[in-house]
Symmetry: C2
Subunit: 408 residues, 2 copies
């Protein structure tokens, strides 16, 4: 059961002009399951992305980086689930390239115009014949705009599809942003992947889009953690088709901040959905760190708390275990931390100040907050003016069960 | 049930000349439980220690650092369980200092000659009257040399006492090293502490002992992890009483390497005992990283694997889940890592090379290794000549149960 995550409704997911979707069932790991998504982008679409920093990154991640660096304009995103094509050496790269060639021919674009994405079992090779058949099938139905269908096609152990959409008016022109994500669950037998795809019909230069993607990633997909493990395949890409009427020439455009904010909000929603549907999650926790000297130290404190198994089990137990939170702050590596100056709040309840428990704190106040499904831990460092938010979930018995479950 | 951890036998724990032990039950948290240990050290004993780097370090850690830096020779170690005196602000410091004054008067030494150690609940104040009564009682029985009794007195949620001893002959002279430790379990409701105390009757200058303690800590107490959480109270101290006949003037002494090795081995045994008795542990895992450019990167890779909840749950499930290990290596932050050059072994079984699964690997070989209670993961980075070992345990349902258990 995801934590306070509404099921997306098809009617709320607005089509994005210039984006065609095609879904297929290729039987890559399980027969009859949607496991292929092909996204065709209008000519002149700008595409930007960020990818896992894992040195063991998967073959498709290598190929994505190559193709984004090439002169070709990106026209196609090709996603398969069931096999991550990671830890697959030279043959894995070849298979990823063959996928791009196949789709390039099928859709009459350069093979370097195709970005491949895979998620699923690692250390196994793509079943290339099934994959090609699946791509062919997906291409034959291209032209749909069913983003819910697309969100379902990229699910692995996600318990529900993750999608979001926003439509608003700028300078009298309607602009649409729609996206999907899939989570940080495990594919038996191996870690799966965080994938995020977002598209807008607004037009903008590629460098502006790339900058937006980086900023959005830092505030969304790079601010979530289930268990601190970074997958081999994590990818987040965005497309600006420019088929709509709204165009941004640069970040100096007076309407850019509003668009930027809407884009980042949608990414944050998609990223938070991954945590809400995290393995075994029973609580959604925001760690808000304020008063830091820089964003890096705010994030370091946030991640120290969010990664602590002791903190996470305490949340699972609804135990307002302040000591574990303070200890995590203490070992987060912030230099010259003045523990007497910082304050910690659970939602609106001040729990720690002056290096210990707040005088006003009562156990019943703490328990009232901890009983909730959505909790904000605020840490005020009182060192500067920077801040960061990290999103995580608790550590439950189900997490262990899911991840200790032997490969069938 | 600890993993392959023999119960220490009183007869195997050799007395250390110049060390008197006294144990008492002060009822600090539970009535009738041994919770006080006083260690009196002969005049001219040299003492050195290393302490938690947690910025939220406990009051006794502050006082230990002060007293070690003072001109006073250390003559007493005073340990209580049941209350960590951490997150206790100014009053906590006062209470730690009062303990030292009390024991200084009782044992006719300077209060700065006393090192205080506390472990247990954090964010609560020491019950100072009970504590003083306990110290008095322990002082009244000083002179015993029952190290097993001492090991029991510092236990918190440890399921068995942890102690080790070695006695050997150097230049025709018998030398003894004996030590105790307590673990990384939780004290409900808060994280507990790693404590290690080691004593030898050999004599040596303080700077030589301090250097030895640092080296030993890096190879033992600083090389273990249960869950990556660093306590507020972690302390490891050693005493060289010099009451025995063996003296080392410097590290250039030809017999120093043999003594050093024996000392480090004992510390490693005490540290590994903490992991073997780790919360919910069912397996003891050594991560041996070889071929690193420096020790820091070897440790970074080792800790990335040892901290990964995905790796740890796979060990719990006896699942040879290579992908999770490779992914952890991949995100350990080693710069310019050539994943095609590295090799990974589970005990004697080569599992990964050339960036993927080894051709010779079979699932049955992997399962044979994973079924064992003690497993060595060897990572050969092929980048240099440095190495490190990290010791950890698996992540089980019992870990979650123990740490999610609500405070009674």
């Amino acid at each position: 059961m995801p934590v306070l995550l509404p099921m997306p409704q098809a009617g709320d997911l607005h089509p994005v002009a210039g984006v065609d979707l095609g879904v297929a069932s290729a039987g890559i790991r399980k027969a009859g399951r949607k496991d292929i998504l092909v996204v065709r982008l209008a000519p002149d679409t700008q595409v930007a992305g960020v990818f896992t920093r894992n040195a063991f990154c998967a073959a498709p991640v290598h190929v994505c980086r190559e193709h984004l660096a090439s002169a070709s304009a990106i026209r196609v995103w090709a996603v398969n689930t069931g096999c991550a094509n990671a830890g697959t050496g030279v043959l894995g790269l070849e298979n990823a390239r063959r996928s791009c060639e196949f789709l390039g021919q099928a859709l009459h674009v350069d093979s370097a115009a195709v970005l491949p994405f895979s998620t699923g079992v690692i250390l196994e090779h793509l079943p290339i014949d099934k994959l090609m058949a699946g791509f062919e099938q997906a291409c034959s139905v291209l032209g749909q705009s069913d983003w819910l269908d697309a969100a379902q096609a990229i699910m692995t152990t996600d318990t529900q599809p993750k999608a979001g959409s926003t439509r608003f008016v700028v300078r009298g022109q309607t602009v649409t942003i729609t996206g999907i994500s899939k989570g940080a669950g495990m594919i038996r037998p191996n870690m799966a992947t965080m994938l995020g795809f977002v598209a807008t019909d607004a037009g903008m230069p590629r460098d502006l889009l790339q900058q937006l993607v980086r900023e959005a990633a830092d505030a969304s997909f790079n601010a979530i953690t289930i268990d601190g493990d970074t997958s081999t395949n994590d990818s987040f890409v965005a497309a600006a088709t420019g088929v709509g009427t709204l165009r941004f020439a640069s970040a100096d455009d007076p309407d850019w901040p509003a668009f930027r904010q809407a884009f980042i909000s949608l990414c944050r929603q998609l990223a938070q959905a991954i945590v809400r549907d995290g393995e075994g999650a029973t609580k959604f926790i925001t760690i808000a760190v304020k008063g830091a000297r820089d964003v890096a130290e705010a994030r370091a404190v946030g991640y120290a708390i969010a990664h602590s198994p002791l903190v996470k089990t305490a949340f699972f137990a609804s135990d307002p275990n302040l000591g574990r939170i303070l200890a995590a702050i203490g070992y987060s590596g912030v230099p010259d931390l003045d523990v007497a100056a910082l304050r910690v709040l659970l939602n609106d309840v001040l729990v720690a100040e002056h290096g210990g428990r707040a005088a006003s704190y009562t156990e019943s106040d703490g328990q009232r907050v901890m009983a909730q499904q959505e909790i904000v831990v605020t840490v005020e460092l009182a060192r500067g003016n920077h801040q960061a938010e990290i999103y995580t979930c608790d550590l439950s018995h189900d997490y262990v069960s899911i991840n200790a479950d032997y490969r069938s």
